[in-house]
Symmetry: C3
Subunit: 342 residues, 3 copies
C-alpha cells in the first residue's frame, strides 16, 4: 500500500506544508519511523523526536521548523493518525465460502462473504454482504448478521441473535449465552429459562473473550457505535446506549440500562437493575451501587463522586496518623479535665 | 409449542381462576405479552400492568380483579414463571453424530447423542446418552461425560476430566487446564506439573468463557447443583459444595474449600487455601482473606462482616469531614490549653 | 512410566537413604499416596502423615525416623516434587499432521509437528519442530512459532504474531487481538488501527481464556519465562520482563512497561503508561495508579505501600469507633469550654 502525502492529507482533512508528492508506504511513531513512512506529533513530551525522526512526512498541528520533511497540518494529529493508519491497516483476507466450513443448507449468505474453513453456520441463519467469519466461528440457527461485519476466530453467536452492519467481534467472544437466572426452591436452584436474544447494532466493536448474555425475555441490546474492550461481561436484559465505551474486565449487571457516550473503566462493576444516564463516567475498579445521572463522574467501591473519592483515597493512607492524632487529643483532654477538677 | 392454561397450572403447581382451556403459546412480561401468551406478576411495582397487559393468562399469588384473563394462582409467581418458561424453552437441536465431527475410533458414545459438525472427541472418551456437543467442542482423551449433558460451542474439556449428568457448560469455557503452580529456582519459575483432574457432578451449570483448572494432584471438584456465571475462575484443587452460586468474574483461589449453598458475588476473590462454610455469603468485589464460618456474610476488600462494611463504607466519604472536625478539635484544645497556662 | 528411586533422586538432585532400587510408578500427596508411589514432605503441618502414608518413597529435607520407606534427601522438597512430577506428567499425545486440519499450502511446518484435526494454519505461517496444535487452534497468516511449543484447544493467534520456543498457551486464549484504541470525533469513537504485533519469547506459559493484544505500532512483548494465570488481560504495547508472574484476572493497561521477576496478584490492575521495575510485588485486587520502583511492594486501590495498607485496612473496620471517639471528644470539649466561659 502506497499513498502520496497529498492523498494522506486528504484522508486526514489537512493541508500540506512542503512537498506533497512524496510516496508514503507506512505509518509509525516518531522514534520508529523509517524513510518512506509518515509519523505523527501529538504529545509535546516527544518534541525532541521531531529533529531526530527518520520519517519522510509528519502529521502535526502547526508547522515546525524542527522537522525537515513534508508536514501535514491538521487540527487533531491523534485523530488524523487514526484516519491515516486506517489506510495502512490490512483488511482481513477474503476467501469466499470455504468447502471446509459447515454451512447449513437453509442458511442464506450474502455476496462476497468470506466463510473460512472450520466455521459453522446453523439453520436459517442469514448473513449480509461481505461478512467475514474466521475459523471456529459458530453461528446458531436463525442468527441474522448485517453487511461488512467481521467475526474473528472462535466467536460463538447463539441461536436467534441479531448483529448489525460493520460490527467487529474479536476472537473467543460469546454472544447470546444464557443469562444467569436462578430461583431458590428449598436448597435447589431452579433455572429461569433465558428465552430472549441479543441484538447488536451497527458499528459496534466487541473485544476478545467477552460475554453478552441473551435476555430472559425480550432482548439484551448493544446500540450503535458501542466499543468494548476484552473480557467484558454484559448480563441479560442490559441496554447499552450509543457510543458508550467499556474498558477491559468490566461487568454490567442484569437489566442495567446505560445511556449514550458513557465511559466505564476497567474492572468496574454495575449492580443489577440500575440506570446510568448519558455521558456518565465510571472509574476503573469502581462498584456502582446506585443509579447515576447524566454526566456524573464516580469512582470507588462503593462508588462515590470522583472528586470526593480523590480526597478520601488520599486520606485513607493517613488513617494511622489520624488515629494517633485522635489519641493525643484524648490524652490532652484527659489532662485538661484532671487539672480542671483539681 | 402450545399448552392449555390448565396444563400450565399443573406445571406451576397452581390452581386456575377463570377459563382453563385457553391455549397459550408463549410467555412474556406483563408489558410485552401479546394475546395468546401468559405473563406473571411477582413485583408489586408493576401492579399497573395488570390492567393494561395484553396477556391471555397470568401467574399470580392472589386473584386480582384488575386482570381480565385466566389467572393461575401460585404460591411463588417467580418460581412458577421459571417452571412454566421451561416448557417454552427450545431444546438444543438434535443432529445425531455428524460426519463432519472428529470422533476417535476408541471413543464410546451413548444413545441419541448429538455431536455437531466440527466437534472433536479424543481417544477412549466415554459419552452418555443424549449428550449434545456443539461445534468447536474439544473432548480430550479418556474424558467421561454423563447423560443429558450439553456442551455449548468452543468448550474445551481437557484429558481425563469427568463430567456428570444433566450438566450445562456454556460456550468458550475451559475445563481442566493446568493449575497455576510454579516454584522459584533462583530467578526461574519451575512448573509444578498438574497431574490431577476436574470432576463436575450432576446438575451443575457453568457460564461462558470460564475456567476450572485441573488439580495438581487429586481433583478439583464441583459438586451437584452448583451454578456459576460467566468468566468465573476456579483454581486447582478447589472443592465447591452443592448448590453454591458464583456470580460473574469471581475467582476462587487454589485449594479453597467451599461448602453448600454459598453465594459468591461478582468479581469477588477468595485467597488460596481458605475454607468457606455452608450458606456463607460474599459480597461483590470482596477480597476474602480469612476462612468464613457457616452463614457468615462479608463484604469489602479485605472482607469484613457485611453490616460493619455497610457502616464503614458510609463513613469513608465522610473522611474529609472527619479530618476537618479533628483539626478544629486540635485548634480548640490549643486555645483552651493556652488559656489554661496563662 | 516407572522409575527407580535412584533415578528419581538424580532428577531431584538428592541422595537416597534406604533402598534405592524400589520401583516407583507415580507421585501423590502423603495422604493419598499408594504403595509404589513417591510422596513429598514440605509442610511441617503434615508431619503426622509421615507415619501413616502408604507411599513407598519420600522426598524430604532431612532423614526421618517416622517414615519407613526409601527417603530421597533434597534441599527443597517442594522444588524436588515439581521436578520429579514432571517425569510422571503425560506429554500431549503426538498425532502428526491430521488430514482433518486445515493447513494453508504456503505454511511451513517443522519436523514431528502434531497438528490435530480441526486446527487451522494460515498462509505463510512458519511452525518449528515438535509444535503441537490442538483442535480449534487458529494460526493466522505469517505467524511464526518456534520449536516444542504447545497451543491447547481453541487458542487464536492472529496474523503476524511471533511465538518462541517451548511456549505453552492454554485453551481459549487470544494472542494478537486488536488493542483497545479509539479517539472521540464529536460523539463518535474513531478506531485507531492496531498495526503492530505480539511477540512471545521462549519458555513463556499463558493461562486459559486470556488476551494479549497486538500493539498499535511496534509490538506487545512478553519476554522469556513469563508465567500468567487464567483470564489475564495484557493490553497493547505492553512489555513484560523475564520471569514475571501474573495471577488470574489481572489486567495490565496499554503501554505499561514491567520489569523482570515482578509478581502481580489476582484481579490487580495497572493503569496505562506506567512503569513497574524489577521484582516489584502488587497485591491482589490492587489498582496501581503510579509507577513502581524496583522491589516495591504495594496493595490496595489505589495502591499504597503494602505495610501501610496492612495498617490502614485494619483501621477501616474501626472507623465507626473512631467517629464515636471523635464525637465524645467534641462533647467533652464543649463541656470544658462552657465551664471555662462560666
Amino acid at each position: 500500500m502506497q499513498f502520496s502525502v497529498r492523498q494522506l492529507a486528504e484522508q486526514a482533512g489537512g493541508t500540506v506544508v512542503g512537498e506533497d508528492r512524496v510516496i508514503i508506504s507506512g505509518i509509525a511513531s516518531l522514534a520508529e519511523a523509517c524513510p518512506g513512512q509518515i509519523a505523527f506529533f501529538a504529545d509535546p513530551r516527544y518534541r525532541g523526536g521531531l529533529k531526530t525522526t527518520k520519517a519522510s512526512a509528519i502529521l502535526i498541528a502547526e508547522p515546525s521548523a524542527e522537522f525537515q520533511g513534508s508536514q501535514v497540518i491538521v487540527r487533531n494529529p491523534a485523530l488524523a493518525y487514526a484516519k491515516v493508519a486506517s489506510l495502512f491497516a490490512p483488511a482481513p483476507r477474503v476467501v469466499g465460502v470455504s468447502e471446509k466450513a459447515f454451512v447449513s443448507e437453509s442458511a442464506v449468505i450474502g455476496a462476497n462473504a468470506s466463510i473460512y474453513p472450520l466455521a459453522y453456520i446453523g439453520e436459517k441463519a442469514v448473513l449480509g454482504d461481505n461478512v467475514i467469519l474466521f475459523p471456529g466461528v459458530f453461528i446458531g440457527d436463525r442468527v441474522k448478521i448485517g453487511n461488512n461485519t467481521v467475526l474473528y476466530p472462535n466467536v460463538s453467536v447463539m441461536n436467534d441473535c441479531v448483529i448489525g452492519n460493520e460490527v467487529i467481534i474479536h476472537a473467543g467472544t460469546v454472544i447470546g449465552s444464557d443469562g444467569f437466572g436462578f430461583l431458590r426452591d428449598g436448597s435447589v436452584n431452579v433455572k429461569i429459562p433465558q428465552l430472549g436474544i441479543v441484538q447488536i447494532d451497527d458499528l459496534v466493536e466487541i473485544g476478545a473473550n467477552s460475554c453478552v448474555d441473551r435476555a430472559a425475555l425480550g432482548k439484551t441490546w448493544i446500540q450503535r457505535g458501542v466499543k468494548t474492550d476484552n473480557m467484558v461481561q454484559i448480563a441479560h436484559n442490559v441496554v447499552i446506549g450509543e457510543d458508550t465505551v467499556i474498558v477491559a474486565q468490566a461487568a454490567v449487571g442484569g437489566s442495567v440500562s446505560i445511556g449514550n457516550q458513557v465511559v466505564i473503566g476497567g474492572q468496574a462493576a454495575i449492580r443489577d437493575h440500575l440506570r446510568v444516564e448519558d455521558r456518565a463516567m465510571i472509574g476503573s475498579q469502581s462498584g456502582v451501587a446506585k443509579s447515576l445521572g447524566a454526566g456524573e463522574i464516580v469512582s470507588g467501591s462503593p462508588a462515590i463522586p470522583h472528586r470526593l473519592w480523590l480526597k478520601t483515597s488520599a486520606l485513607i493512607p493517613q488513617l494511622p496518623d489520624l488515629v494517633a492524632r485522635l489519641r493525643r487529643l484524648e490524652k490532652r483532654l484527659d489532662d485538661l479535665e484532671k487539672r480542671g477538677t483539681r
